[in-house]
Structures are given as C-alpha cells and as structure tokens.
C-alpha cells in the first residue's frame, strides 16, 4: 500500500480512465476483503506472476483485474471504495522517486 500514489490515483479516477493501480498477490487480494488496510513498511519482493487491480472508472466503480494473460473488468463499488481509501494512505511527496 505504501507504494501507491494518491495524486496519480485520484487524477486517473477524475479522468475516468485507468491510472490507479494496486498490485498484490492473490493472498493479499483475499486479505483486502477483511478489515481496514494496514500499511506495510517492508513489502515482499515483486512476484513473478503478480495480480494487478486498478480502478478504471471511479465514478462507475469499474475495476479491472489482470492476472497472467487474463483481464476482466467488472463493477464493484465496495472494492472501488476500498482501493480509493487505500490510495489515500500511500501519498508520496511530489517528485519522490521510489
């Protein structure tokens, strides 16, 4: 979560096109259905087969999920809300390089 950019996230959401991204393992994705997001100080290494979900259109609650070579977009207001909330925790200083 700490690697999210709130600025870019909100900008993308405002334009109603995909620019807010969350990358997670399937385990982390299932955990996201539980309680409030918890910041991870030292994230695990990048997986070889990441699952990526992004808010394609916040107004319409459209979320796109990519895993392997598959992609699906569906409407999920709850997940959209959770992702937007999670993005608020990941705010970085302008111009900061990871």
């Amino acid at each position: 979560m700490s690697n999210l950019s709130r600025r870019s996230f909100l900008k993308g959401a405002g334009l109603a096109t995909g620019a807010a991204i969350i990358g997670a393992s399937p385990i982390a994705a299932s955990a996201a259905t539980e309680e409030a997001p918890e910041l991870v100080a030292h994230p695990s290494a990048l997986p070889k087969d990441p699952l990526v979900a992004y808010v394609r259109d916040a107004q319409k609650s459209e979320v796109t999920v990519l895993h392997g070579t598959d992609e699906v977009t569906y409407r999920d207001p709850a997940l959209t809300k959770r992702l937007l909330k999670a993005a608020q925790h990941g705010r970085r200083k302008p111009g900061e390089v990871a």
Binding site: N3, S5, S8, T17, G18, A19, Y54, V97, A98
Partner: protein, 453 residues
C-alpha cells in the same frame, strides 16, 4: 560507453538510457557549474520520420549532494510533453522549420523544470520550455544553429537550461574495446593478434539527446557560498543523474498510462562505472539503486575484472599489474570517495567515507586555460576525475587507471608497467563535437548529410 547500452534492461529502453554525465565549472561563466545529462544512445541522424525525442513518460533527474552523504540535497527534474499540430500527416514537418513556433513543425516537445531542495521543498523554475527540433537537413532545418540557440533559456531563478538534440561528444573506439578488449592500434599485441590499424571514433557521426543546466555555484553549495579554497569541504559537490519510470504502465490499444511512484531505471555518475566495473548479473540492480547503497558494489572496484583481464589479453605487457592482488584503493578513491587532500598537491574532492559513485566536482578549482584531455592525470586539476568536461578523454584515463597508473597514489613502491603509457584510445575528436559556450556539446549532425553521401 560511457554508459550507452551498459545494462541489459536499460539497453531496451533508449529514451531513459543515460549515456553520459558531465559536470564542470563553466569555462565562460566561472561563477556557475554546468551539468549535462545525455540520453538515447547511438542516435542515427537520419532516423525519421519519427525523429528522436525525450520520453513524456520518463522523469529525468540531475542530483547534487553538497554535504557528503551521497543523498541528493538539490535535484533538478525535467518532465516532457509532446504536442502534435496535425495528426493527419505522417510528416515531422510540413515545410522548413524557421523558428521554434513555426507552424511547419508538426511534432514539438516542451518541458518543465522543477528544483527540489531537500531542506526547502520543490519549486517549478521553468514551465513549457521548448526543445528544438532534430536536425533533419537543409530543406527542413537550414538554420539549425539559430533554432538551437533559441532553445537555450534563462529561467527567473537564475539557471540556464537546454534540452534537445546535440552531437554526442563522447569519443571511444567502441568496436575495438568490446572485441575482447582490443585497443587499436595495438591489436598486434593482443592475445588474438591482428595487423595494426588506426583507431575508430565510433560515435563521431551520431547524436544524443541532451539535458543541460547551468547553475550559479551559490545555488548548489551547502552554505550558499562560492568557495575559493580548494581544500575546503564546502568546495566539493557530488553529482549524478538518473531516469525513472512509473512503477506500472498500462497499455490499452493505442492508449497508454502509468501509475505509481517513479522507479529509477537508469543511473550514471562516473563514466564506465556500471559498464565496466559492475558485472552483468548486477547491472540492472545497480541502475535501480542509489549512490548511498554503492558499498554493496565496492568489491568490484577493489578487485576490478578488467585489471585481471589486461595481463591475459596482452601477454607479457602487464607483469606488475598481473602481480597486483591488493585492494585497488586508488580506484576506490577516484570513483567512490573522491581524492583526499595530500595526494595531489593543492587538490581534493573527498566527500567523506560514504562509498558512492558520483562525479565529484571541486568548484574552487578554476577552469583551465589550456585543458588537458587527460585531466588530473595530465596535470590539469580542472578535469576528470574532478568532475568531467565534455572533451575529457575519460576512456583513456580510466583504462590507464585500471591498468595501474594511479596505484602509486596509495602505494608509492608500486611501479606501473611500461605498457600503461601506451594504453590510450588514440582518438582526437573533431572540433565540431564540442563548443565553447553552453551547452558545450556541438550542434547535432543533420540527417541529410550524415554519413556524408
């Protein structure tokens, strides 16, 4: 070389591939420092119709450390945006480009410059500054020099900036050095000998994309002073450059967007560091790392692979180097800490014990009236490894250093092999590769006449 295609991943991403970094006290404005960071290696001047340009999706950064911790105290960031006037033509230009706002120029780039002060925060110091077009030929860009000059801009905060195509001023016999370490014209002495032939200036007809900034010295030093004592620690700046891409990139048909923080994909301080010192398996890691993590790579400086190869590739020519098994603390000083005072009379560029690959520029050393391309090795304290000027022969300097020329700095009993004096690139770049005024690299070759018909 010096960092053209130096690592596996960045070699696939030319617009973010930092090829050279230069930093020197401006010879015509000695109250300022000029820093140049080049991108896009091996640009063929005729590369149309989509001529070379900076990446709109790349964050280009120049870093300055002024307190010796190898972390940036001042950062200049450059972000580009491209504007297309007429998407219904395939042409870069539909007539002669006579000015930077000429309606015949169809595809233009602009950039913003942000100064990030570690202690004071960020300030946008330049906005929507135009880049010049690429140099196409006598019909499209007949007055190229005026276009390039018009793209040199002073900003209100005191800096001067330029971003656009230039002549790649770096000179090296690329084809020889990567053919198992051959050095023309000494190939008859090589382990696999061939008849001697003259060295080849591989990049002599190629261009590069340059980001250059000239900054008053007082805007870079820790205490805002303009140091005059070369032995003062305030006089030394650590300088490097990098390029970053967003962590995630999405492609959907013709549309692309990115998200997440900027992740560094290219880094460059001293020439050839990643190219020749860091082994293949760690080059991408090095590009993503920061200078204050370079202790993890210091072993490759203490025992450089190239120093072991030279005696093998040139049998009998380097007996002293072959017997040198001690840590190369001379190279550690040159590349990772700077030279402390007491080694070269009247000079130091020591930034402290933090091992970090940075150019180290002592701004109290005045520009040389008669520069030596061999820099400090040539008795010229204003040249590499005191920063790096555009005409410094850094390949010859570093080859000589690795071959043992500088080891007596830390062990006076060591006598360099006689062959060290013959280790050289044997190149003198053409006069138009460099110029005496900002941005100091020569005008780019035009596509019509390069190579000459």
């Amino acid at each position: 070389m010096s960092s053209h295609r130096e690592a596996p991943e960045i070699s696939k991403d030319p617009v973010a591939d930092n090829t050279d970094v230069y930093a020197f006290v401006s010879p015509d404005r000695p109250d300022t420092v000029t820093i140049i960071s080049n991108y896009i290696p091996l640009e063929g001047p005729a590369g149309g119709p989509n001529f070379f340009e900076f990446g709109d999706d790349v964050l280009y950064s120049i870093y300055i450390d002024n307190d010796g911790d190898a972390r940036p105290d001042i950062t200049y960031q450059f972000e580009f945006s491209t504007q297309v006037r007429n998407p219904n033509t395939f042409l870069y230009n539909t007539g002669t480009i006579a000015s930077l706002d000429d309606p015949n120029w169809n595809r233009r780039q602009f950039y913003d410059v942000t100064r990030v002060d570690r202690r004071k925060g960020s300030t946008v110091v330049g906005k929507d500054i135009p880049s010049p077009p690429c140099n196409i030929g006598p019909r499209s860009t007949p007055s190229y020099a005026s276009l390039a000059t018009a793209a040199v801009r002073d900003v209100a905060s005191g800096e001067t900036v330029f971003a656009g195509q230039r002549n790649d001023g770096f000179f090296v016999d690329l084809g020889a050095i990567f053919d198992l370490g051959d050095i023309r014209p000494l190939q008859n002495l090589h382990l696999i000998p061939t008849p001697p032939t003259a060295s080849v200036d591989t990049l002599s007809t190629l261009n590069v994309h340059t980001i250059a900034i000239r900054v008053p010295i007082r805007m870079l030093t820790k205490d805002g002073s303009v140091p005059t004592d070369p032995l003062s620690s305030n006089a030394v700046l650590g300088i490097w450059a990098g390029a970053g891409r967003r962590k995630v990139r999405l492609t959907d048909g013709p549309l692309q967007s990115g998200a997440g923080p900027w992740a560094q994909v290219s880094r460059l301080g001293n020439p050839l560091f990643n190219e020749v010192i860091v082994p293949m398996g760690r080059k991408d890691e090095w590009n993503a790392a920061d200078p204050d993590d370079d202790k993890d790579f210091a072993g490759y400086v203490r025992q450089p692979e190239l120093a072991k190869l030279l005696p093998v590739l040139y049998p009998g020519a380097f007996p002293h180097l072959a017997g040198l098994s001690s840590s190369r603390d001379d190279l550690v000083a040159i590349l990772l800490t700077g030279l402390p005072s007491g080694i070269v009379p009247g000079f130091q560029n020591f930034t402290g014990p933090t091992l970090a690959d940075m150019l180290r520029l002592n701004v109290a050393i005045r520009p040389s009236a008669s520069p030596s391309p061999l820099g400090i090795l040539g008795g010229d304290l204003a040249g590499f490894p005191n920063g790096r000027r555009v005409a410094d022969d850094v390949v010859s300097i570093e080859l000589k250093a690795v071959a043992g020329a500088t080891y007596p700095l830390v062990n006076k009993s060591y006598i360099p092999d006689n062959a060290v004096s013959a280790v050289s690139e044997y190149l003198t770049p053409a006069a138009d590769r460099h110029q005496s005024a900002f941005p100091y690299l020569g005008l780019p070759h035009d596509g019509f006449s390069t190579p000459s018909p």
